[in-house]
């Protein structure tokens, strides 16, 4: 109930943010522009539409999560609305979870609308509904949920600008860390390999949520990957939220 109230107010606040609509405009533009790009391209036009469309949903969704998420907790502290909230019988963990769920709900609505535009354009070309596209969008959303948790973690102790940089770094590292896996395969056993393995274990691997290539090119996906990627997303999000709660619980609000 209390978490729901905080989530509700966060949703109301997020949907008033102009950045949300600006990013949504560019995402929609990107999705629609995929149709133009397809016309200019030699080859399978539908693949271009799917590729650019899914990339637009992913990139602009991540920007929404970072740019709105990093200001959420900070604004409450900066404007001192937090004093009123935490003087009520509300656990600090409930506050963080409410903020998180409010933004996740906002991103769900935005992803849904972007996906509907995207699916409509794909449908106009193929005249069929492809289930694989839902899978790709679903995992993009799971990635957004994780990025939201990261944005809220940084927002609980840092300014929006720094938090945005940290969260963006997390996103970029997450999409490049799979390179370590390739290095690991080519390294000889030894302390160096152990170090790289430890690094790879600690760093996020957001490629776990990237099914775009397989879906666009119709490549087979082993069924076990779905579950492991899903569990990876849920556990990593829970871990980051746990960290955010720990940081937030220890804070003094001067």
């Amino acid at each position: 109930m209390k978490i729901g109230a905080i989530a509700g107010i966060t949703f109301k606040e997020a949907k008033r943010d102009r950045i949300l609509y600006l990013l949504f405009f560019f995402a929609a533009l990107g999705i629609v522009a995929s149709r133009v790009l397809a016309i200019l391209t030699v080859g399978d036009r539908v693949k271009i539409i799917k590729d650019v469309g899914l990339a637009s949903i992913s990139v602009f969704g991540v920007l929404m999560a970072i740019l709105i998420g990093t200001g959420l907790v900070y604004k409450e502290i900066d404007k001192k609305t937090i004093f009123t909230l935490l003087s009520k019988p509300l656990h600090r963990a409930e506050f963080i979870l409410g903020k998180f769920l409010g933004l996740v709900l906002t991103l769900f609505v935005m992803t849904l609308v972007m996906s509907l535009i995207f699916l409509a354009i794909v449908y106009a070309h193929t005249l069929k509904v492809e289930g694989a596209l839902f899978v790709a969008v679903g995992y993009i959303f799971l990635e957004l949920v994780l990025i939201t948790a990261v944005a809220i973690l940084f927002s609980s102790f840092s300014t929006p600008i720094l938090s945005s940089l940290f969260a963006l770094a997390f996103y970029l590292i997450g999409h490049l860390s799979w390179g370590l896996e390739l290095i690991l395969k080519k390294m000889a056993p030894g302390p160096g390999k152990s170090l790289v393995r430890a690094l790879y274990t600690v760093l996020p691997d957001l490629e776990n949520f990237n099914f775009k290539t397989e879906v666009v090119h119709g490549l087979p996906i082993p069924p076990g990957i779905y579950l492991s990627s899903f569990l990876y997303g849920v556990c990593y999000t829970a871990f980051i939220l746990g960290l955010a709660v720990l940081v937030f619980r220890r804070r003094d609000f001067i």
């Binding site: 004093f83 009123t84 019988p89 509300l90 656990h91 220890r250």
Partner: protein
């Protein structure tokens, strides 16, 4: 019966600056607020009043000491179930209307819909905002925000109300209304703990006060025990007599037109002044004995500390 608030040896240091330097804010304060009383917490700017309140509400963790609310640890959410708080210079979500904001705070106490609607309507009426209930808070003046703040502090029908500068930003009529509401709390058996710079208001409604200076409680007690009823001096305004005529009887504070304002420190001399006025056919405009006020005590205490 447990005290409404019991603070024992509370200490808090802040670490400020790029290279953190420890600055003690609260240096071991102790006091208690009894159930059902109005308690005024006074101090100059930066004395530690708001820090004490933030510690009480769990917004800041003390370095040492204990705080109890109705016999329970202040950090237990249960103790905050029976507490209402109005922050200084309140700022709320400005895109919500007053009704929406109160409904939101009611949700944080888990009130059901009927109770929420009833309390929202009743409190908006109590603070005189029923006509502005549907306006977004960004259109509210400072005084109106203060009223919304007071309403949200009462949404859970608290036993203890903590008010940080509740009279700041209010016009004289608003101040009187808020004072009346605070006095009504006492009649309803609620405990009120509040800070204010407006000492006349504190003097009018408080049962007990504590004065904090530099992070230490320097005076605490019942208002009647602190403020004596001894006459400090008598102010006499007389017309039609030159000020020189009162030489030796009192200190002439001002002489404008044919009026003279005298400060007579010795009570026995007041009769002599009156006799002189009768004798020289002057006119007595006013005569007022000045007893000690809370402001005198406050200024003296702060200056001495």
């Amino acid at each position: 019966m447990a005290d409404a608030i019991r603070i024992d040896n509370l200490r808090k240091n802040f670490r400020l600056g790029f290279i953190p330097k420890t600055k003690p804010i609260l240096k071991g304060i102790s006091f208690s607020v009894r159930q059902g009383e109005i308690f005024g917490y006074l101090g100059p700017n930066g004395a530690g009043k708001t820090t004490t309140i933030k510690c009480l509400l769990g917004l800041i963790y003390p370095d040492a000491g204990t705080i109890e609310i109705f016999g329970r640890s202040h950090l237990s959410p249960h103790s905050r179930q029976s507490l209402g708080f109005l922050p200084e210079n309140p700022y709320f979500y400005d895109y919500l209307t007053a009704s929406e904001f109160l409904a939101f705070t009611a949700d944080l106490f888990g009130l059901d819909r009927a109770e929420k609607d009833e309390r929202t309507a009743r409190l908006l009426k109590l603070v005189g905002l029923e006509r502005a209930a549907g306006l977004p808070l960004r259109k509210f003046s400072r005084g109106m925000l203060q009223r919304v703040g007071l309403a949200q502090a009462l949404i859970n029908d608290p036993r203890l109300v903590v008010l940080d500068e509740p009279l700041g930003g209010m016009d004289p009529i608003g101040r009187k209304e808020i004072r009346d509401i605070i006095v009504r709390f006492k009649a309803e058996g609620k405990t009120v703990f509040f800070t204010s710079h407006i000492l006349q208001d504190i003097e009018m409604i408080c049962d007990r006060v504590a004065i904090i200076v530099g992070g230490r409680i320097v005076k605490e007690g019942g208002l009647r025990d602190l403020v004596s009823e001894k006459v400090l001096f008598t102010e006499v305004t007389v017309s039609g007599i030159p000020p020189q005529a009162f030489a030796g009887l009192g200190e002439s504070v001002s002489a404008q037109a044919d009026r003279v304002l005298l400060k007579v420190y010795d009570e026995s001399r007041v009769e002599e002044v009156l006799a002189l006025v009768r004798e020289q056919k002057g006119r007595l405009v006013s005569l007022s004995p000045r007893t000690e006020t809370l402001e005198d005590i406050f200024v003296e205490t702060v200056t001495r500390a």
